[in-house]
């Protein structure tokens, strides 16, 4: 129910999408080039290419370089993926190795869809 209302809200703001599907504005927070960070980046790119072709943006933020950005998005654990759009704000922590959980977390696939 909640998802439905959100989609509606996004539909109103995001323009020119023929499919009527929202654009995903994703931000991935990492700290340095650790194996976990690299795995998270790779996993995220793979998931997006598989499920959100043409309608996503990914911003990778390295907190080692810009630590001041950690507070704004309430980052505690790393890596953290934050979905800014479509609302509501969603956070997924971990190296994103569990694709199903990422898809559910990003509302790309509803929980019911998982067998």
């Amino acid at each position: 129910m909640m998802n439905a209302s959100c989609h509606k809200a996004v539909d109103a703001t995001v323009t020119g999408l023929p499919s009527g599907q929202p654009t995903y504005n994703l931000r991935l927070y990492v700290a340095g080039q650790t194996p976990k960070s690299l795995a998270a980046i790779a996993n995220l790119k793979r998931i997006c290419e598989d499920h959100l072709v043409g309608r996503y943006t990914i911003e990778v933020i390295d907190l080692m370089k810009t630590p001041q950005l950690a507070e704004g998005d309430q980052i505690v654990a790393l890596p953290t993926l934050v979905r800014h759009l479509p609302p509501p704000l969603k956070r997924i922590i971990g190296n994103l190795s569990d694709t199903e959980k990422v898809l559910v977390g990003l509302d790309i696939r509803s929980k019911d869809a998982i067998e």
Binding site: L63, I75, L78, R91, G94, S97, G105
Partner: protein
């Protein structure tokens, strides 16, 4: 605070670098503060004051010790936090604006977070590290980091990360306070005391007889001696203060200086012109015998000498005391206005004994009075052992500071000593007992000195009156019928005056009689003398006549002889 330090070994004091918390009393019992550059665990149940304690540590660091601080809150939002501590007189927003303190609110909402794969808490490290470096913080508070356990599911990762965090804090060289909620059978709910073990302070908020007392205990302190008892502490509009009272040895210096009692005749009775400075004085008596008035007289006299006085009123409000004392000619209002006199009024049932003591100690520390009055100690109800320990420590605190303390105590009729009196009687240097004498259908007030250490005091029962001009003593009437008071004394005095008058009159009468007798006698003498003189005069006349006759006879005879020619 130095004088009220607990009796602890001092030789360990320099072993470990310590960071003062600036919390009254806590630095004394930890002999300098919490360990510098190490994390300290502050744990306690909900509502113990953990957050305020921790924040006081930061604010004092920023304002008093020039050490900036980072407050990482996992529970309260920044704005709530500054609103909450403004009640303690801390302006957190200003300190944040001045870049002396950074408040970082870490919000972890389980519902918003999905976990997928491996993660660590590096983000927390980054945030904390960034905040520390931004203002060059030396102090860090994590309040309360256990909230992470409810926000994240993987407790194995959390534990490993917390261990890493505390090690990292140590490497950073910051002095940290980590707060934790009290758990069942262990100090914290998630057992984080395993990781923070250099110094553990336990806060407790206990309810006994419907009265809560906050207590603090230093559970452990690696590498340092510390006070091991439970110490009461209080949180009020003046912040947090701990009262370190353990043994308060009897080593205090004493004074031979005297402090006038405010009642001239009482000064005289005491033999040395007043109480000893730093003495503990107990004034006990029945209701309405003027205990408070004696206290107020003492305070009034002290204020007139320019000394600071603290009046702890447990039964009357300050205004009531001032008004009532005005009726006996003691005006305390100017002293209040001049800042020499301060009232601290509270219901005895407001806190437990320990809290009262802590509060009194704090007030004494801040006001530095020369004289305090506690009116009355009998207002404290409870087990005698507790009353005793509270009062003994109060008396000790005052003695070590050279404060003259006047306690009043309400005794009840028919009872020679009540609980609070019995418990303090041996502590008191001077004990003045006020009594009601009932006779001839009236009550009269008498006082006597039950004891007064170190002075040659009067043992006379004295009647006193509370008049518009204060307390006045009446010269004792001691006669054949014993010590009399009130109208009995007046009547006896009148009788005596009458008897004296009668005696004087009869003496006068006898004197007059003697005088009369004397004058009568003198008159008689004069008469007799006059009679004798008259007789003498008569005889003289007779002799004259005789002589005249004899000479006449002689000349006649010669004439006759010539006539007869017997002679030529």
């Amino acid at each position: 605070m130095s004088s009220a330090q607990p009796n602890l070994p001092k030789r360990d004091a320099i072993q470990l670098p310590k960071t003062p918390t600036g919390i009254n009393g806590l630095d004394d019992l930890t002999l300098g503060g919490i360990p510098t550059g190490r994390p300290t665990l502050l744990c306690g149940a909900a509502g113990c004051g953990k957050t305020l304690f921790a924040l006081t540590f930061l604010v004092n660091g920023a304002t008093e010790y020039g050490e900036h601080g980072v407050f990482m809150s996992f529970e309260e939002r920044s704005q709530d936090l500054s609103a909450n501590v403004s009640s303690l007189g801390f302006d957190l927003d200003r300190l944040v604006a001045e870049k002396k303190i950074v408040v970082d609110y870490v919000r972890i909402e389980r519902a918003e977070i999905e976990e997928s794969g491996e993660y660590d808490l590096e983000g927390l490290f980054v945030r904390l590290g960034y905040a520390i470096d931004k203002i060059g913080a030396k102090r860090v508070v994590l309040d309360t980091i256990e909230a992470l356990f409810s926000g994240l599911t993987d407790s194995a990762i959390l534990r490993a990360e917390l261990r890493r965090l505390f090690a990292w804090l140590k490497d950073k060289g910051v002095t940290a306070i980590i707060t934790g909620e009290r758990g069942d059978g262990q100090l914290t709910r998630y057992g984080i005391e395993e990781y923070v073990s250099d110094c553990v302070i336990l806060l407790d908020n206990r309810v006994q007889d419907q009265v809560t007392t906050r207590r603090l205990r230093v559970v452990k302190y690696r590498g340092s001696a510390h006070g091991t008892n439970e110490y009461p502490f209080l949180i009020d509009d003046q912040g947090v203060s701990v009262l370190p009272i353990t043994s308060a040895g009897l080593g205090h210096a004493i004074s031979s200086e005297t402090v006038p009692t405010g009642v001239a005749d009482l000064d005289a009775m005491l033999g040395i012109g007043g109480y000893f400075r730093g003495a503990s004085v107990l004034i006990s008596g029945l209701a309405g015998t003027g205990k408070s008035t004696f206290g107020a007289s003492f305070v009034d006299a002290a204020c007139k000498r320019g000394e600071h006085c603290l009046f702890f009123a447990f039964e009357e409000s300050p205004d009531q005391v001032v008004r009532n004392m005005r009726s006996v000619g003691i005006d305390l209002a100017p002293h209040l206005a001049a800042g020499l006199l301060r009232f601290e009024a509270a219901r005895p049932s407001l806190y437990g004994f320990e809290m009262h003591l802590a509060r009194m100690n704090r007030d004494i520390e801040s006001f530095k009075p020369a004289v305090i009055v506690v009116d009355p100690i009998s207002a404290f109800r409870g087990p005698s052992s507790e009353i005793h320990s509270t009062l003994i420590r109060l008396a000790d605190i005052c003695k070590t500071k050279g404060i003259t303390t006047l306690f009043t105590s309400l005794s009840s009729a028919g009872e020679s000593m009540n609980e609070s009196e019995r418990s303090v009687s041996s502590l008191m240097d001077t004990w003045i007992s006020l009594e009601d004498k009932e006779s001839n259908g009236e009550r009269n007030r008498v006082l006597y000195l039950l004891k007064s250490r170190g002075m040659n005091h009067s043992n006379q029962l004295r009647e006193y009156r509370l008049t518009g001009g204060g307390i006045t003593m009446i010269e004792p009437y001691i006669g054949t019928e014993g010590v009399l008071t009130g109208t009995a004394r007046l009547a006896q005095e009148a009788r005596e005056r009458e008897a004296q008058l009668g005696r004087r009159q009869s003496t006068e009468r006898r004197r007059r009689e003697v005088a009369r007798k004397r004058s009568a006698a003198e008159r008689q003498i004069a008469e007799m003398r006059a009679a004798v003189e008259a007789e003498e005069a008569e005889i003289a006349t007779l002799i004259e006549q005789e002589e005249a006759r004899e000479s006449a006879v002689g000349s006649d005879r010669e004439k006759m002889a010539v006539n007869r020619g017997a002679r030529k």
